[in-house]
Symmetry: C2
């Protein structure tokens, strides 16, 4: 029997197929391609990329040489550029802004073959520290409204290079999904005087039906109204709106939660492509009491058709409780 | 130089690549597959489908036999079902509804190989009449909030059967993209006392930079803030909120606009997969003065990653003015 579920943050409805749910083995996952091209992100090829912005865990002193553990560079083919204008221009009913922004690449580790789940805890923590530090640095430029950290893993998820990397886009606007969560969070807060994300965590701490992994600081769970099979969110258990306020101590437990979650997805679903993104409070003007930063991970298991994009109406073939059960036990 | 553009209805921003735009030939389009399985939608196989709800252009009197031109049936694998309950159930912060709804298939013509653009005008008009009549019929059941008409053409767009067909889903909720357009339309109307869609049409009637095709009653154009390359909308030129109020006379000119638009997309882009959906006023409670029904067509040319889905932030490689220019001249 199908079921319609409402996302408590945004109010979006999804159809969840409860009768003949798709299980982990029912999805066809394309094999990971292995390119034979020279990889510009591998150590020794530093001159093939734009110059280094910062690196972490460096064993050699010179920039743009091997010895780094995490390396941050400008994107060679940026979607936006820091030298573009930021003025808004009205064209009748239309509005546009010059393509101002930042677009950086975070090369996650020197090893071409090692994904986040395969690294040592210390190596994984360096990636998260790089995410945070780049956000803190770019925040100082008042023209940015939002710093978007994301990762496309695998060709089907949009990765054009295999070497494990994440991306950062600094934007003069707030992405619409984040704006929708902010509005929904504010609506709930006006009514209940509580953060809707904290309410979900409180319910889950007793129900435990959606939880995939938890430690002292973070909970990974399948959202009640997941749009996609095995969609997984990681939330700090204590209320916090800004990802970039995460402390070094919390980076350790966040790295653990992220690694465990990605390992479970890798093992249960035969190493699927996935997208990861951080939703955080916009730099200017968001309400910190009603927004709760989190990481969203979407494994690439189904063909998303324009239908879903054009209507905002999703059909999820796997109940989130079943997905949680499968991932928890991996 | 990249450019950020704001959708005047919803307020969503997209990045449009203005510098090295992708042209019609730059997209790789998968060849149309030809299945060798027996097609349940072909004439003579009527017993393989659920019973006929209605048919059009029938030359033989008996139901569920050949002789039909358009045939409407219940979906054999429905996403929602008419016999499910409609009660809302609260589970703490969560909310769900039983999977009540209707799911129908509109078999567009007897010929397995003929797409909408290949039909005679009279044949294409029958499809649109079927869309309208099914909406009018289901509207009488007060439990529906929204009747969603859509079409997935080609495997990449989610079509599981080749034989040209559209689908209808009757929903007890309003899809979120439609809800977003309603809200945006109401915002603009509160400020300007005009329909934002009418304002776009008025601007386009003098600018002509985005128009793909127009006749006396309908305009097909590329939205200023298109999320996807060659995304095309068809709007009635006179204000109207309800698709199902379309008259027989307007069905003729709508069929012309739809056929011309689909022919241009087919010819310019090597017959790509596409999704089509109708956005119309919800059955209960929408504001007819600030919403304007329309058809959205999204050719399947780029890999849409979870990144776009997770952030609501799109990067469009083809400026809509260029797409309009290419389609107009085909």
């Amino acid at each position: 029997m199908p079921e319609l579920r409402k996302d408590p943050v945004t109010g979006r409805w999804v159809i969840v197929n409860m009768e003949n749910p798709k299980k982990a083995g029912d999805f066809s996952v394309e094999p990971r391609a292995r390119s034979t091209k020279i990889c510009p992100f591998c150590p020794g090829h530093e001159s093939m990329t734009p110059p280094e912005i910062i690196s972490y865990g460096r064993k050699a002193p010179a920039k743009n040489t091997p010895g780094w553990q995490v390396r941050v560079i400008a994107n060679k083919f940026p979607a936006l550029r820091i030298e573009e204008p930021t003025e808004k221009k009205k064209l009748g009913v239309y509005e546009r802004i010059g393509g101002f922004g930042a677009h950086e690449v975070i090369i996650e580790n020197p090893d071409h073959e090692k994904e986040i789940g395969d690294l040592t805890p210390a190596e994984a923590e360096l990636i998260l520290a790089a995410y945070r530090d780049r956000c803190l640095d770019l925040r100082r430029d008042g023209r940015f409204q939002y710093i978007l950290i994301f990762k496309n893993y695998g060709e089907a998820a949009g990765a054009s290079l295999e070497h494990p990397h994440s991306q950062l886009i600094g934007l003069p606007i707030v992405p619409s999904r984040v704006a929708g969560e902010l509005e929904g969070g504010a609506r709930h807060h006006a009514r209940a005087r509580r953060c809707i994300f904290c309410d979900m965590l409180a319910r889950e701490s007793t129900e435990k039906k959606l939880t995939v992994f938890e430690n002292a600081d973070f909970t990974a769970f399948e959202p009640f109204a997941s749009r996609f099979p095995f969609e997984t969110w990681i939330l700090p258990r204590a209320h916090g709106a800004d990802f970039d306020a995460v402390t070094d101590a919390k980076i350790k437990t966040l790295a653990e939660a992220l690694q465990k979650t990605l390992q479970k997805i890798r093992d249960a679903l035969k190493n699927p492509s996935y997208n990861l993104m951080i939703h955080t409070l916009p730099i200017h003007g968001g309400r910190a009491d009603s927004f709760h930063w989190h990481i969203e991970i979407i494994p690439h298991l189904t063909q998303v058709a324009g239908f879903e994009l054009g209507t905002g109406f999703y059909v999820n073939p796997t109940p989130p409780e079943l997905a949680a059960d499968i991932l928890k036990n991996h």
